[in-house]
């Protein structure tokens, strides 16, 4: 536990002393702010349109739902931004240690590979959740001028925690197989995009294969969270995905110990 904490604080520190964390947070906030503004303008536009036509409509106003039309849509596009951003947070985690020779220090210290990985994993997750939490500002704006339902918002954030963990797990695995950070980031993009789009091929596959492919799609499971539904099977999916990727990463790192 003490070792894990040592790695965790070292890793978190190194994110915040380098400009990386700030640049990524800045770029992310800019993009998400831009998207949020546009989604909000769109919603506004519809509201005006419908209220003007309401008098001509039969059966009154259609249901303009703030949650469905703003919150869910906003969270939906954020997923993709994270797919692009998380590999940049994870790429250095192991590749850099290997490149600088500091892996030799870690691996010859009385500390287990699992402790190293978990320390790094939670450090990255902390940074990720910090940036994610900044988007609460947008929800705050909605609360100020509207009346959003906070249930789905909180469940969406839980979904983000799990999705982030999954992205980070895959990113760390990519970072463990190379000493080159560019290679690590590209591998992570490739793997995540594949997992993102995997359900696309489901429509052309047999019924069983389609189910498997759909199940593997990392994005499908998020939709429930964004609708305010916390389904244990989704939680289990993400947790087992995280466990699996960290487990494989452990094996990759330890392979040098048993490869005679």
């Amino acid at each position: 536990m003490r070792n894990l904490w040592a790695i965790y604080t070292k890793e978190l520190r190194s994110y915040f002393v380098s400009p990386v964390a700030y640049v990524i947070a800045g770029v992310f906030l800019f993009l998400s702010g831009y998207l949020f503004r546009n989604i909000l303008m769109q919603f506004n536009f519809w509201c005006i349109q419908f209220s003007q036509r309401a008098q001509f409509m039969q059966g009154g106003m259609p249901n303009l739902n703030l949650n469905e039309m703003v919150v869910t849509q906003f969270f939906g596009v954020m997923d993709f931004i994270w797919l692009l951003v998380v590999p940049m947070l994870t790429m250095r985690l192991l590749a850099e240690e290997k490149k600088n020779g500091t892996m030799e220090l870690l691996m010859t210290s009385p500390i287990s590979t699992v402790e190293i990985l978990l320390g790094k994993f939670f450090a990255c997750l902390t940074l990720y959740m910090t940036i994610v939490a900044l988007t609460l500002v947008y929800c705050g704006i909605l609360e100020l001028y509207g009346d959003p339902d906070w249930g789905p918002i909180w469940s969406a954030y839980l979904g983000y925690l799990l999705l982030g963990g999954t992205f980070i797990g895959v990113g760390m695995l990519a970072s463990s197989v190379t000493e080159n950070q560019i290679v690590a980031v590209l591998l992570a993009f490739g793997a995540l995009l594949t997992l993102w789009l995997i359900d696309w091929s489901a429509s052309f596959a047999g019924p069983t294969a389609a189910k498997v492919l759909q199940y593997l799609s990392i994005i499908q499971h998020l939709q429930d969270f964004q609708r305010g539904v916390i389904d244990t099977s989704d939680v289990v999916f993400y947790l087992s995905f995280i466990f699996f990727s960290l487990f494989v990463t452990t094996r990759v790192l330890e392979s040098r110990r048993w490869r005679r």
Partner: protein, 313 residues
């Protein structure tokens, strides 16, 4: 204490270390000497549990490097070829981090860090970022990192490489000051380093041990020179023939180029003194003998001989 028994390491087809055995007693400084690519780093990586051996065993303070790796890792301090430092950390923060992962108890940490910084002479740069330190200071920080948990065994891979002469001397002094408390294995391809700091030398070449002993005994072992230098005036062919026909002479050849046509290098069966026979043969042949001396082998010569002639022997 370190015991290495028939240790081997293969990288695919390349045998980097081939059946190496040696011992380093508690408190001893053992010099691990060899040319580039000899297998020094590979051996040290096996000793520090970074790489598993392909065959053979090694133990540190009685703990096996494969089966009891955690115990071994607790007891060793390791300075790899390039110091394993984080460029964005200050010296203080870095040593704190290392002390923590090496398991130094929290209440002793401050004292340990201060003591090691004092010992390695980095106390005055403690709040500098490592990336801004000179190569020599980074090397010192690397050494401090290896010492911070007061390990019983220190493994230093070329600790003075890339330093200026003054810093080399200082680092050597630091290492010598550690004698007695720690068992130290240091690798190098610089000879004076070994004769100055080590009690025991292991010479390795192409993955195999080619010589072992104290610097003095190694020199003594081969002092009965097997090389004679002679200056002989006379026709080259005839002199060569005369020299080669002496019992105990393995070979005689001219040294250098034409300008030294009269200088000869005579290799002799080790342990046999043929100086009388050589001088007699030269006089009997009607040539004139200007000079005859047996070459005093320095550790350098032994090193070169052992490591370069290994393939021809």
């Amino acid at each position: 204490m370190i015991e290495v028994d028939q240790l081997s390491k293969e990288y695919g087809d390349v045998t980097a270390v081939d059946g190496v055995s040696f011992r380093a007693e508690r408190g001893q400084i053992l010099g691990f000497l060899g040319p580039n690519g000899a297998g020094k780093t590979t051996t040290m990586r096996m000793l520090t549990c970074y790489l598993p051996p392909s065959a053979g065993t090694a133990s540190v303070d009685g703990y096996d490097v494969v089966d009891e790796s955690m115990e071994v890792r607790r007891r060793i301090g390791y300075l790899p070829e390039s110091p394993p430092v984080y460029m964005d950390m200050t010296v203080d923060a870095y040593l704190g981090f290392v002390a923590r992962i090496k398991g130094v108890p929290t209440n002793q940490m401050r004292a340990r860090i201060d003591e090691t910084m004092e010992k390695t002479g980095v106390a005055h740069v403690r709040s500098n970022v490592i990336g801004h330190l000179s190569k020599g200071y980074r090397q010192r920080v690397g050494l401090a990192q290896a010492l911070v948990h007061n390990p019983s065994v220190l493994i230093l891979d070329e600790p003075t490489v890339g330093l200026d002469p003054k810093q080399i001397i200082e680092i050597r002094e630091v290492i010598k000051s550690l004698r007695g408390e720690h068992t130290i294995v240091l690798s190098t391809h610089i000879l004076p380093e070994v004769s100055m700091t080590c009690e025991k030398v292991v010479i390795i070449s192409q993955g195999r041990i080619v010589g072992e002993g104290s610097p003095e005994s190694l020199t003594a072992q081969l002092k009965e020179s097997d090389v004679l230098h002679a200056q002989v005036l006379g026709p080259v062919e005839a002199v060569g023939e005369a020299l080669r026909s002496i019992d105990g002479v393995l070979d005689a050849r001219q040294e250098g180029d034409d300008s030294q046509a009269d200088s000869w290098v005579i290799s002799v069966t080790p342990g046999q003194d043929v100086r009388d026979a050589v001088s007699r043969a030269i006089i009997d042949g009607g040539f004139s003998l200007r000079e005859l001396r047996s070459q005093d082998m320095s550790l350098e010569d032994i090193f070169l001989r052992l490591t370069t002639e290994e393939t021809t022997v």
